[in-house]
């Protein structure tokens, strides 16, 4: 079993497919996410591919504070992703709600609605920071899986 779970773990680390979802951002973080996926940064080196549907995705990239309107949709999209799945909050607003925290129409950061695995601060977070964050997330998974013997 040890060998198989090691191979599965390796494959998960080598092919994180991402889904980009705007939960109410001002578009700055979205532009940076798109920039990180362009040829000049070449994320396909690490196996990252942008997917259009949550059913194909492993990592959900969220940007922006969660507005009350989009809250239920975010949960729905999260639940449509097959396990194992990870959420990355990109930008200050996604991490904590940012300047919009406490607004009448804002529920807060991403972690007030769904569990978040990695936080990437910045206003907006630059492509290099996003890549760094994703690599750190993958690396933390590697060590975690080594400790827990390959269980999620």
């Amino acid at each position: 079993m040890g060998m198989i779970s090691k191979i599965i773990n390796w494959s998960r680390l080598k092919s994180p497919w991402v889904l980009h979802f705007n939960t109410g951002a001002c578009n700055a973080c979205d532009i940076e996410i798109i920039a990180a996926l362009t040829p000049s940064y070449d994320l396909e080196r690490f196996g990252v591919v942008l997917k259009a549907t949550p059913r194909h995705a492993d990592v959900l990239l969220c940007s922006g504070p969660v507005t009350k309107q989009i809250e239920s949709r975010l949960v729905r999209i999260y639940e449509q992703m097959p396990e194992p799945k990870f959420v990355v909050a990109i930008g200050s607003c996604a991490c904590s709600g940012g300047v919009f925290n406490g607004c009448y129409n804002v529920a807060g950061g991403i972690n007030s609605v769904i569990p978040v695995s990695a936080y990437i601060p910045g206003c907006p977070a630059s492509p290099k920071a996003i890549i760094d964050g994703v690599v750190k997330l993958l690396r933390s998974l590697e060590t975690k899986e080594r400790k827990s013997g390959g269980k999620k």
Binding site: S11, K14, S15, P39, G47, T53, R55, P82, P84
Partner: protein, 313 residues
């Protein structure tokens, strides 16, 4: 019995096709990356994708027809990998060759498209239903010219078996020039069959998410991706056998490496084409196929009839 099992499961059957298909996907993605001035994915990328998908959770939509939803990817994989048994790979004669196997191969290669249609339709998602209808509409546009040019090539060789065609064109090396229009037409139709870029209307990512496969995930998506890869290899082998001078009357040991080279050559051409063009609209694609490809295919049939009367056998 044991030999047949070996041929079906290992070579030139499922295992060989699986590995070769992964190589084909890697070459396609790497070339694409190099053309965009990127480094591109590492060599194990398709394998990592496959293992990851297999090990993921499986979600089946509530409204989907579970049986059809689960059966269709398996059927696609089966149909596309069975057809290699009739295409010559190791020698000029294929594993189970008989007179008329061209037709069997063509039908087996049509089957995956139908399974994508049924799988998409019965997953009951809006995007997958649109994708399914589009893939079936597209089928009627590219299938006719493809069948016609392969028929034309068979006419000149005067046989309905792929092994016979390969033997004929290896004996008369100059004759494959007669089929050059047909080769072009078949390459373009093949892009439609594989749903690659100028004709990737059924899974247009920017319009309808992922077409028929929007609702698929985990194991079933892995099967679909594998069947696409295998379809690419089998289709390229078919084109190589029909349109390229196959063995060149080479030493028997050289036939197999030469076959690999031909298939890779066709994959590289397809990657070039898919990088060169942008996606067409469905109506543009259909009118292109019927206005240009079908007449060219008819021209090839007529030319081959004339060649057949004029050229020495």
């Amino acid at each position: 019995m044991l030999k047949a099992l070996f041929q079906i499961l290992i070579f030139p059957g499922v295992l060989f096709l699986f590995v070769f298909g992964l190589c084909g996907e890697f070459i396609d993605r790497k070339l694409c990356a190099r053309f965009q001035n990127r480094i591109g994915p590492p060599w194990f990328q398709p394998l990592a994708d496959f293992i990851k998908l297999v090990s993921k959770e499986e979600i089946i939509p509530e409204e989907a027809d579970i049986k059809v939803f689960k059966l269709m990817p398996v059927l696609a994989l089966t149909a596309s990998s069975v057809s290699i048994l009739y295409i010559p790979t190791l020698a000029e004669r294929s594993a189970f060759s008989f007179n008329g196997d061209v037709i069997v191969v063509l039908y087996l290669l049509t089957l995956p498209t139908f399974t994508y249609f049924l799988g998409g339709w019965y997953s009951r998602g809006v995007y997958s239903m649109i994708g399914a209808v589009r893939s079936l509409t597209q089928l009627f546009a590219y299938e006719v010219p493809l069948f016609l040019v392969i028929l034309a090539s068979a006419l000149l060789a005067d046989t309905w078996s792929l092994s016979g065609m390969v033997a004929f064109y290896s004996r008369h090396l100059g004759y494959w020039f007669c089929n050059i229009i047909g080769f072009g037409v078949a390459l373009i139709c093949f892009l439609g069959k594989l749903e690659k870029v100028p004709f990737d209307i059924p899974e247009a990512e920017t319009e309808i998410v992922a077409g028929s496969f929007t609702e698929y995930n985990g194991r079933l998506l892995a099967l679909i991706r594998t069947s696409f890869n295998i379809e690419m290899i089998v289709g390229a082998s078919l084109l190589a056998a029909v349109f390229l001078p196959f063995g060149l009357n080479l030493w028997p040991a050289l036939i197999f490496p030469f076959y690999l080279l031909q298939v890779l050559f066709i994959i590289v051409i397809i990657t070039f084409l898919r990088l060169l063009f942008a996606r067409l609209r469905l109506d543009q694609m259909i009118s292109f196929c019927w206005r240009f490809l079908a007449p060219l295919a008819f021209l090839q049939v007529i030319l081959n009839l004339i060649f057949k009367a004029v050229l020495p056998r």
